[in-house]
Symmetry: C2
Subunit: 382 residues, 2 copies
């Protein structure tokens, strides 16, 4: 019953029945994993006793199919389930629902990965800007890119703009809103964004460089559309968004509606451990259209390992159908003294994000920022 | 540094600075929990070194405040953090972001509960229909209500309608779409919903009873609005939605736009263990406006304990500001032979949901449904 090696792709039974291969890591025992795997395949497809299904098409083309089981050791098994692409309706939320909706409630299962058929890659489409879009925006053609974050929330638009101006004068490539900046009364979006954009622009005027400012989108689809209008009016062309807060459908919709805007995804509400970070923040956010993806670098405030970070960056950058790339943005308690090591680890196809580590410099914020920028520039390709 | 008993409410420092009290369960040791608690309070508010903040208003009114720490034993501590209500912008997604956004990435922390100030309860508003709305719709004034689910996906609209007609003829109060039914090519929403509504209506015609049909909403806000128009045109007044799939903002928006429609929330993507189910499915979904909340009953296909189920039902029904109630809908592998026990456990302010357990009856589906309905009716209050 139990395979101990991965079989390569199992061809779909018939045309018109493309499958998403969902890869789960399941805690269990060798004598029970076969039954457990079948239960997952049923839960994530028809969600009812298969014996009670009489329709032959449903049985052949819709019921989830266990395609492989592999013993990973330590009581963990990798289970491959073929889920009918047709059940997703080619819609972002429903895709997530079919991959992990009910099974997210089972604590013995982690959604480790999914391999998407061309039909889904084409329908969802992935990033529009990707690595080239960020390089064009920053002019950083042969080096890693730099980024910082505007904090703390609670400040007014004027105070935030002052901080942004200093970071820009230090020569940083991008400044993103803290993901906690939304549309609060102490710095409403409509007031904050034009003011910050203006000071950031002014800070670089005349010296040839450019700093991009990424406002953080929040709220429902109507509100986010209005925010994007404000972004455009302010002359900006990139934004921050937390897809697991807004919902994947909202995220994907605004990506498709705004192909000329670069989207940086934030991992808020992305949880720990139940969906593997390389899949969620690397591959799935990329499928939905993230042009850059922020994640906690190893050795910072969060618990990702260096292996996880490596796999995440690879999922964001490596070939995936015809989709363009998503730029990895390691962050989360990074400091200027880690820059060289991070560049060695990630190479130059990366955007380094240091937030609090620059803000903490106080009166020396411009100089610290400039040092960060110079260190990255020194690692440019010849 | 460490309190071992809960202090009662700590009054806010000043007017205009209402706090959400977030309650986390944190794995740790007695000598480190104080520092860890402070780190959570910072992560979920300003997210930068507090020493680098010079603005007095931010320090006093915005930085998260550890209000209590209690040793729960077994290496788990309950940490109460006061988060400024102002940081939520009174917006659903941002509320979740401030409660658990970045901390969801830390595997040592569970979001256990939150106590909302009146400002947030009033702004988000909760259910519009609640228990009374479901009782009016079903005519079940003095007993528990019954519900089943339409499955399996993959069937066409005609076949699903046939199944729904049988469940209705058995006298069930409500039939909901399986949460996997979205807008797939084999049963498009616009075709499925009117057809099922018609057969469900016809099945009860002339006998005085009524069965409600709840289509499952999916997609982005535009798509869901169009689906609600189809629901209304079909003469229906209740729907199913999975808030963690659509995003809380989309969910809350359609609730507020449709006060006359009853919303049943589905727990898909609600995860396991990292947000306590009584808080997420009971209190938070209620705050956002769920009129009923589906959850896995103990002893079914999922791992919730009877204590969790009891707490969840209590969170849905017990007084919460001025908000009306959310009806608990225990489900997930329930069968007719568990009905009496479930009624003893939950009482009559409940809707019992049996899906596959009725569908598996095949040719005897109508009779099994009628037996389910009769058993519940026998437990009516005098």
């Amino acid at each position: 019953m139990l395979d101990t090696s991965l079989r390569p792709h199992v061809a779909s039974a018939s045309a018109g029945s493309a499958r998403v291969k969902a890869v789960y890591h399941v805690a269990g025992t060798a004598d029970q994993i076969g039954v457990r795997a079948e239960a997952i395949a049923v839960e994530q497809s028809v969600e009812m006793p298969v014996a009670a299904i009489t329709d032959r098409t449903v049985l052949e083309e819709i019921v989830g199919r266990v395609e492989d089981i592999r013993d990973l050791g330590n009581g963990v098994f990798e289970v491959h389930v073929g889920l009918a692409a047709a059940t997703t309706g080619l819609e972002p939320g429903q895709l997530l629902n079919m991959l992990f909706g009910n099974t997210s409630i089972h604590s013995d299962v982690v959604l480790h990965d999914a391999i998407f058929p061309d039909e889904i890659l084409a329908a969802l489409g992935g990033p529009r800007q990707g690595l080239p879009g960020w390089r064009t925006r920053s002019g950083a053609t042969n080096r890693a890119m730099t980024c910082s974050a505007l904090k703390p929330q609670g400040l007014g638009a004027r105070e935030l703009a002052t901080i942004a101006g200093k970071l820009a004068r230090g020569g940083i490539d991008f400044i993103k809103d803290d993901h906690g900046l939304a549309d609060q009364r102490y710095s409403p979006f409509a007031e904050r964004v034009p003011r910050i954009a203006e000071l950031v622009h002014a800070a670089r005027a005349g010296e040839g460089g450019k700093t991009g400012y990424l406002p953080s989108l929040s709220g429902n689809l109507d509100q986010i559309r209005r925010q994007i209008e404000i972004v455009r009016t302010a002359g900006l062309d990139a934004v921050l968004i937390a897809p697991m807060v807004t919902g994947l459908a909202t995220f994907h919709t605004v990506v498709r509606e705004n192909p000329d805007i670069a989207f940086m995804a934030h991992p808020a509400m992305a949880g720990a451990g139940r969906i593997a970070p390389p899949f969620l923040l690397g591959k799935l956010f990329r499928l939905m259209g993230a042009d850059a993806t922020v994640f906690p670098n190893h050795g910072g405030r969060f618990g990702y390992s260096s292996d996880t970070c490596h796999a995440l960056a690879e999922a964001a950058l490596s070939p995936l159908g015809g989709l363009t790339s998503t730029v990895p943005v390691p962050a989360g308690g990074m400091t200027p003294n880690r820059v060289k090591e991070m560049l060695q680890f990630y190479g130059n196809d990366v955007m380094l994000l240091i937030g609090g580590g620059l803000l903490a410099a106080g009166a020396r914020m411009i100089e610290e920022t400039a040092l960060f920028v110079q260190t990255v520039a020194q690692h440019a390709h010849e």
